[in-house]
Symmetry: C2
């Protein structure tokens, strides 16, 4: 692959990341969090690259968020020393890995059941207790205790374990459900106070409704991931514009079988099948009227009916994906550029870390 000049000369498909936009996105969100009085703890799932996490920390983030131990290991080994792991860690091998990680960095995990807490409790020791938050389901309908009462009971159970330290509440909210989050956190805070338990952290997150985070009166930490690159779903959510999207997938038109059809050399192995509510598979930057109607693993089929000018075979065109995080997980590396000028190739170091 070409290592200098325009990124348009790269062999396709290639994931291009505009560092100017990355830096702008980080600065914008950090400034917002600072003004809102919220600690930023970016979720690294979007980029999976230690160098970019360090940019976020340098801008003012208090630490990072990972979802899986094997991801956290990559970032800890790269020198990042404050990690929140927002996952119920279960199973002997994972608990052993967690222990090693805990000896290396400041580690916080979540739990939503006594089962998870019991596993943690027997793994750690009172000499160096593990920091544990209670995960709360405030409407996301994924993991999490269901009521403030349950949250309080689990917090008490954690606090009773000499090897663990209860430090806060964490939720994975749906976009635009801030009121639910506030109510759940407020009620639990009241119950915790009655129970004599201190609650240091109230952690919420999500990029889509990030810019309404200032309205909180109780949350004090915010986890967001996608904002560093942005994507088509965040443009739709009103979070940003297409010009704020740092990730483009560079593709080549490999076939023009009919007047209205183009086929690109990037399929679900590059763009993923994630629709996120869209009916097509990405925004075609260079031909905004083009519609990516279908993907197979290595091909995108594009309907050009609405295009006045149509791309030719061999032409390179850029796509903004529906969902940027899942694209990062498909790529061994990305190409960093500044306004189109190639700068460096980076490994996606935490790609494929599923456990």
């Amino acid at each position: 692959m070409a290592q200098q000049g325009s990124v348009f000369s790269l062999t396709t498909p290639a994931v291009l990341i505009d560092e100017i936009i990355v830096d702008k996105n980080i600065a914008r969100v950090q400034k917002y969090m600072d003004e809102a009085g919220l600690k930023a703890r970016p979720h690294i799932k979007t980029h999976k690259i230690p160098e970019f996490a360090k940019k976020q920390l340098a801008a003012g983030a208090v630490g990072i968020t990972c979802q899986k131990i094997s991801e956290a290991q990559v970032f800890a080994d790269a020198g990042i020393n404050d990690i929140l792991l927002t996952f119920n860690i279960i199973g002997e091998e994972k608990l052993e890995a967690l222990k090693a990680l805990h000896n290396q960095i400041t580690l916080t995990v979540v739990a939503d059941s006594t089962h998870t807490v019991d596993g943690l409790a027997k793994t750690f020791s009172a000499e160096r207790p593990l920091r544990v938050m209670v995960e709360c389901d405030t409407g996301g309908q994924r993991c999490g205790v269901q009521t403030p009462r349950e949250a309080t009971e689990l917090a008490q159970y954690i606090a009773e374990q000499p090897s663990l330290k209860f430090v806060g509440l964490m939720t994975y909210p749906m976009p635009n459900t801030e009121d639910n989050v506030e109510a759940f956190f407020e009620q639990t805070a009241g119950l915790l106070k009655q129970a004599g338990l201190e609650c240091e952290i109230f952690s919420t997150g999500g990029s889509p409704s990030l810019f309404s985070a200032e309205r909180t009166t109780i949350a004090n930490e915010y986890r967001a991931g996608t904002y560093i690159y942005n994507d088509r779903s965040l443009v739709r959510a009103g979070h940003c514009g297409f010009d704020d999207c740092a990730m483009h997938i560079l593709t080549t038109v490999v076939s023009r079988p009919t007047e209205s059809r183009a086929v690109l050399d990037a399929g679900s192995k590059a763009l993923t099948s994630d629709l996120l509510g869209f009916t097509d598979f990405g925004y075609v930057v260079d031909y905004p009227e083009a519609v990516i109607t279908g993907l197979s693993e290595e091909h995108a089929v594009v309907d050009l009916s609405a295009c006045t000018k149509k791309p030719e075979i061999g032409e390179k065109i850029r796509i903004i994906p529906n969902h940027t995080c899942v694209v990062s997980n498909l790529m061994d590396n990305i190409y960093v550029h500044k306004g189109g000028e190639f700068d460096r190739k980076l490994d996606v170091a935490a790609r494929g870390k599923v456990w």
Copy 2:
């Protein structure tokens, strides 16, 4: 990770491949192809593992099919010496890589435009012409020339290039469109004969309707991939039963937030978002009434409403994915077992080879 004993002891999520079923699936399809008088040229996209391709060749396959050059490089380097690359290869760097590959093995590629042919023609030489097939669109609406007339003209154009050799027709058919394929191939064969061109290979493929391939009177090579593992989509197509599915994704129940909800530690990073016409994200082997209603990147949300017995936190359960090929592309390695007994860990050597 545990390297002996039951695969159920592996840390999750983990992709389990039952080698007994793999061998049975290969033998079944090879026998069918032999009896139908068709040469088998398996598509390696499903497994992406040279060792499994060698099993297919040992059973009687004439060579393999790859979609991308970087995949073909992996298999050529592993000693496989007859590869069909079913992709329009465009761009200088790819053509250079193609040239190196052509010097290493017996290589055949496809083209559906004079643009593609021109690139190939200038890259290769008359001393060692490259074998080229014309890709035909017989209803798949992806790449391919649109009519037998166009196919013949492009075949003539290829035959006129001293550095290329026209060797046949290739199509990517939709399931159950054998009649279209037959008609397109028959008509083109007639036109090619009139033009004095020999056509050595008529190549069709696809696992879903593989067992009707015997009805062809003209196709002589068959490309199929998924049959080696099988998946939920092939069970639905009537190609096989759940017991013929070699790939299971082993997961752990990490949360039971409500009576009817379980959350697994495998999300779209393990199962992919590929629905293939289903409305849920895989078949839960151990709880067939359970429905995987949603995926985020690291979590699957499972509706247990219809289950009389329900899984507990910490329990390991197996999933047959909707689409097996895309799962292989997410995993650095898979765990081979024989009826549940761990045998070996294999790298998915051609994972993530997108160009």
